[in-house]
Symmetry: C3
Subunit: 347 residues, 3 copies
């Protein structure tokens, strides 16, 4: 595929500075070839352009000075890059049709232009929208609704009663709708299961990474709103709500009934306690545990600073005695106050 | 299904106060309809009852005063709710029988009333007990023993030499019996695998959540005792023992040969070092690392308190210098002691 | 199988002290029977030998004194044990051949002596080397290259464009080559996917544990070099490089573009920030977050020391006020300095 810079501008906006050349791909500055367009997202990368072989660049106005390429000037080069990249490297499609080894239950409807690969199993009373791409060995339970243009990768599992919007992508090993972790202890302190019948509702344009799990709600659904992006190995417990356009990095755990706001960003490995509420636009740092609700958006953080083990051991022993240290400090403060008083008397 | 309050009492105990009405379901106070029973587990939820449409309630004696519903009085309303909920919302069953696409190895026995779904694979010398429900795409290795009334959800994998009791539930993506992580370095510091042949033993009524992994032992089995409940994305390493009726929340990692006692509770994202022993009834908080054995049950905790990044950065720098701060404190203490002495002399 | 001690020495080196007996297996000191060989790796285990029923032992020279067994003396008993154990307990093989239910795409080559189990799916333009063992329900995408003697366990998924060397082992639920987590925000702060087309390259003799995920790179591949061993539930993000012969314990998360050196060891649950570089031979402790590059190999650590919740709460409050405590300390230091000066003047 070849496309002129002016055609990109028609599609994605921006302003042409230089020749309206034809390009055949997009790549970062160190990889781009002569027929390709590249991009930079920050002035600090301008130095990389001296060796760059690209014929054009996506760049912000305030970084464009002295950059001797054919340019598309835009406010948001990173987003612009994502659009051009999607154009050149669209998601690969499974071969169209429904393979002979696919098993579909009763009362299920598969809308136009399906691509359903071998050994896929679809339950009863399921609706699958248009242009869905379902890869091999996906299992879909009963009473599932899937919108249009949804991609589901191999070995993903969707339990009963999951509702999914349009344009979602679910990677391999994803599990949607497994039992929430609800148990009641009897008088012998044995655990008794609490049925989980609330299902899951997933909005439009939600991406979920490999081996991530989303449990169904107890009585009401677990909800993931539109445009949420979730990385690999994330746990979303029962009755969680993830607000629209939030981003969740890998290895995050969100406990039951937590409500994450819209446009939040949760860093890798962070954990959210059950039942807390996180304000819209909150950012949580990597490996940070959030144990109570956040009402004011900000960047929150809680990592123990790393050091060599030897340094750590020398310092960490005092973490267990901070209160004693504080008490000692207060005693000394009083002693000094008294001494300063006496000292003043002496003067 | 409809059932009278007196019939519930026959099944689960408790005392009827009010009319012996018939109910058709159970739900929390905000969801329960007129033909349903609800429940509260704490006095603080009594305020929610004014808007509740339920016709009956499960409640403790000491919270029952002034509650104008037909009541089942019980010591443990949460457990009672779990029982009634199981009655109304039993676990859904796969259609009975063994599907034509199921492949079963030699010398394997499947006992009465199986429900084994499409594309399930069962190895050689396997025994599967009565009334088991095995969902699509489950793979079961050789020499596996499974008790009665076990549910295995889609895309779960059971390796060779895993022994499972009665009444267990394994969710999608669960892996039981994969190799323990044992490696020996040679003189070039290259890793050489140590064979893992110990298998896994799982007791009765064990629940394991989606994408949780349980490795086989090196020479002797990894063991999960009766009544253990485990959430999603948990790692149980080789030769771990989980004592009966313990509960393990999501994203926990338990390293090799750790022994967890009975009736323990491990919070989400916590980590247990290899070879440690945890006393019965120990509770470990979320995201807490346990690096040595615990002999006295208590609630243990270790989270770094979160704050805004700005606040964190201001304080965290001192975590790396706590020993220096402590040394300074001690020097000052001596100086003050001397000054107080001199001050006394001066007086 | 029976083998003489002298034959082991021919294979693996070491020196025979005692009789050249025949053994039929290897086991730890507490499990070894009369026809077996055992091993100890440290002097502290010598006490266990009094009850040990083994007929021979693998032991280091400096621990051998007073040990009344037939002995193989070696510098590295743990490695020697791994070799003897591999000899007696080789990895079990799937039945040879390609099952009738296996589906193979166009232009794919499967080299000699394959063992490909039921319901495996192999895409287009795939090459699979000699003696590969592919378990049931594995899905392999297009343009995948797999070397010789590779084992892939049930329900693992390999996406398109993954290149794998010889002698690797991938456990159940492993996902190789899923999309890296790359998203660009538009002006409405909606996330737009960045295509991930860089693939994955995995060297020789790499082991990857159950439910671990390795994302493909954005433009260039994610790389795992020779001899790397990775435990369960690990996340390897796009464009990460894992240097040869490194070991990664369970529940680790490595963020995008991080470069881990050779011969590194990452403890369970640790996290590596994106784009950092870790020097060869670095060891990272369990649950430790590494937020910047490490240039000098050492043991690094960062765990908050655990205690009872009561103790924790008393101390943790001061973690949020360490800077104030430090400021107070400095004020007091100045006051004391002045007092000491005055005190000197007074004297």
């Amino acid at each position: 595929m070849k496309i002129k810079l002016s055609e990109l501008i028609t599609k994605f906006g921006g302003k042409l500075v230089g020749d309206d050349i034809e390009i055949s791909g997009i790549a970062p500055t160190d990889l781009a070839g002569p027929s390709q367009i590249t991009f930079i997202t920050d002035a600090k990368y301008k130095k990389d352009l001296s060796e760059c072989k690209a014929s054009a660049i996506i760049i912000a106005e305030n970084n464009a000075e002295g950059v001797d390429f054919n340019k598309i000037i835009t406010d948001n080069p990173y987003w612009y890059f994502s659009q051009v990249s999607q154009l050149f490297y669209p998601r690969k499609e499974v071969k169209a049709g429904i393979k002979a080894t696919v098993l579909v239950g009763g009362n299920s409807i598969i809308e136009s232009n399906p691509a359903i690969a071998d050994y896929v199993i679809i339950g009863d009373n399921v609706t699958i929208g248009k242009n869905c791409q379902i890869h091999p060995h996906v299992v879909i339970g009963d009473n599932v609704v899937i919108g249009d243009n949804v991609y589901i990768y191999p070995n993903a599992t969707i339990y009963d009663n999951v509702k999914i919007g349009h344009g979602c992508v679910f990677h391999s090993g994803v599990v949607l709708g497994s039992d929430g972790f609800g148990n009641a202890a009897d008088k012998s302190k044995h655990w008794n299961r609490i049925p989980q019948i609330g299902g899951v509702i997933i909005g439009n344009n939600v991406d979920i990474g490999a081996n991530t799990t989303v449990d169904c709600g107890t009585f009401t659904p677990t909800i993931i709103e539109d445009g949420v992006v979730i990385d690999n190995l994330v746990q979303i417990a029962h009755n969680v709500l993830i607000g629209a356009h939030s981003a969740i990095a890998a290895c995050v755990g969100i406990a039951g009934s937590a409500k994450i706001g819209r446009h939040c960003q949760l860093g890798g490995g962070c954990g959210i306690t059950g039942h807390v509420q996180i304000a819209d636009y909150t950012v949580v740092g990597a490996a940070t545990g959030i144990s109570k609700s956040i009402t004011k958006p900000d960047l929150y953080f809680a990592a123990y600073p790393f050091s060599t083990f030897k340094e750590w051991a020398k310092n960490a022993v005092h973490v267990r005695n901070l209160h004693a240290m504080y008490e000692k400090l207060r005693t000394m403060e009083h002693q000094i106050k008294k001494l300063v008083g006496e000292s003043n008397v002496n003067n």
